[in-house]
């Protein structure tokens, strides 16, 4: 059965704390931390971008499973911060990992869910017999306008998944998407920072899509929250995923392992996938995992995974939470330089 053969993650070492951002804008860090549920976020170095994050995560995935890189015949990179507006990130990743030159490749963009969309495409291509192994990456170095509420959460990081039929560590039991045209968050061509609909990003956008997709996939598989060991939802902040989990009937124990947002922020296309990776880091054979992403605009991709025996012998070090611990704290001055908020003319 088609599933995940391997996975890899990348979280930049730099972090900035909510206190440091609040200090610059004269805001109350404590109320932001409790209101947003984000304490600090991962910041890409000056020489890190979506392409480098994607390559590093993909290389880790390849190294862990030992598949020769030429056997990868599909590469999809999902991001809303591709380094080029026109010119794919996927070709950079394919070249850097040494993927087969006869390779399906494309960049995907669907706000924060382009990574899971890539996984769905790989699942379909493997099922169709078009490829043996496909690589799906979700990575971002998300931007936020200085002083905006997003500045506390918009972070950098990513995860990569090799999808195939042999030696899977987790099988994809089912996947579906729920899609509507809901403009809750967007960035117009040529604009440096995204805009959002404020509180409109909540009910009609995040909650409606995540809830509906998760509810529907459980319903059509005759499963209920108790049937899952873990659930992972997209994490734009610390509040939304905990609230939607409660709405669906999941306990806080089921979501805690994947709740990486408090410590690294919202890594956009990488967000739910990094949470899912953190869960895979500890998952045991037979355990069932619900993953539901969310992309503004808007849509949710839901997946049901079942962990296989192969995970026992699969190397999972270093784990996502270990990478989260490897943090180097920076001040707002360095942050502004790294995120190119200083204009070099």
């Amino acid at each position: 059965m088609v599933g995940i053969v391997s996975y890899g993650t990348y979280i930049p070492a730099y972090r900035i704390k909510a206190e440091e951002i609040a200090r610059i804008w004269g805001e109350n860090a404590e109320s932001i931390k409790s209101g947003l549920g984000v304490y600090e976020k991962a910041v890409a170095d000056i020489d890190e971008d979506t392409a480098t994050i994607s390559v590093e995560a993909s290389r880790e995935a390849l190294k862990r499973c030992g598949i020769p890189s030429e056997e990868i015949k599909a590469v999809f990179v999902g991001s809303e911060s591709h380094p080029y507006a026109v010119k794919p990130t996927a070709t950079i990743v394919a070249e850097a990992i040494g993927a087969n030159r006869f390779c399906y490749a494309a960049d995907l963009e669907f706000a924060c869910k382009a990574g899971t969309a890539g996984m769905q495409i790989c699942v379909a291509m493997v099922k169709a017999g078009m490829i043996k192994y496909g690589l799906a990456v979700g990575a971002d170095t998300s931007q936020s306008s200085p002083g905006d509420a997003l500045e506390y959460s918009a972070a950098s990081g990513g995860a990569a998944f090799i999808i195939g039929e042999n030696e899977t560590i987790a099988e994809v039991k089912d996947t579906l998407s729920f899609t509507t045209d809901t403009p809750d968050f967007w960035r117009r061509e040529g604009m440096p920072y995204p805009s959002h609909g404020g509180r409109f990003t909540g009910e009609p956008a995040y909650f409606r899509h995540v809830y509906t997709a998760a509810k529907e996939i459980m319903k059509r598989n005759n499963l209920s929250p108790e049937d899952f060991s873990y659930a992972v939802f997209h994490m734009p902040n610390g509040k939304f995923p905990t609230r939607v989990a409660r709405m669906l009937g999941f306990s806080s124990e089921q979501i805690e392992q994947g709740l990486v947002v408090r410590r690294i922020g919202n890594t956009y296309s990488g967000s739910s996938l990094l949470g899912f990776s953190a869960v895979l880091d500890v998952a045991k054979p037979g355990e069932r995992i619900l993953l539901t992403s969310f992309g503004s605009g808007a849509g949710s991709d839901a997946f049901i995974f079942e962990v296989t025996e192969n995970i026992e012998s699969y190397p999972r070090e270093p784990k996502v939470w270990e990478k989260i611990e490897r943090a180097r704290y920076i001040d707002y001055g360095l942050y502004a330089k790294l995120r190119k908020k200083i204009r070099m003319v």
């Binding site: 020489d47 480098t52 390559v55 850097a96 070099m344």
Partner: protein, 128 residues
Amino acid sequence: MLPRFWRKIKYRYRLVGSYCENCGEYYHPPRNLCPKCRRKGSIKEVPLGSEGTILSYTVVHDAPDDFKLQKPYVVGLVKLDCGAVVTAQICCKPEEVEIGKRVRAVFRKYSEEGEDGIIYYGTKFELI
């Protein structure tokens, strides 16, 4: 510069180089001719591995325009375990670098041809 960068992109992104089957020496960047064996040599393309040791380093303060935002940055000579030596940036704080420290290859951005130009990616090293 674009075709010049593109032509060797494989060797910039990955540590792939040359191996001379006659003398057993490894080279990066790849060579068409073994400098030890010349016509007697037999050059083959091989992966060079991703770990090595710092032979020398410097912290660059006076940076060219393309590297201004990165300064101060660390440049080093890294001897890969196969014996080939590469010149590359080392991703660490200036005070952390030392001759003899072990490093591992990472994929990073080097520079770009201005805001509207292409981006040059390549291999850097991080301390193990």
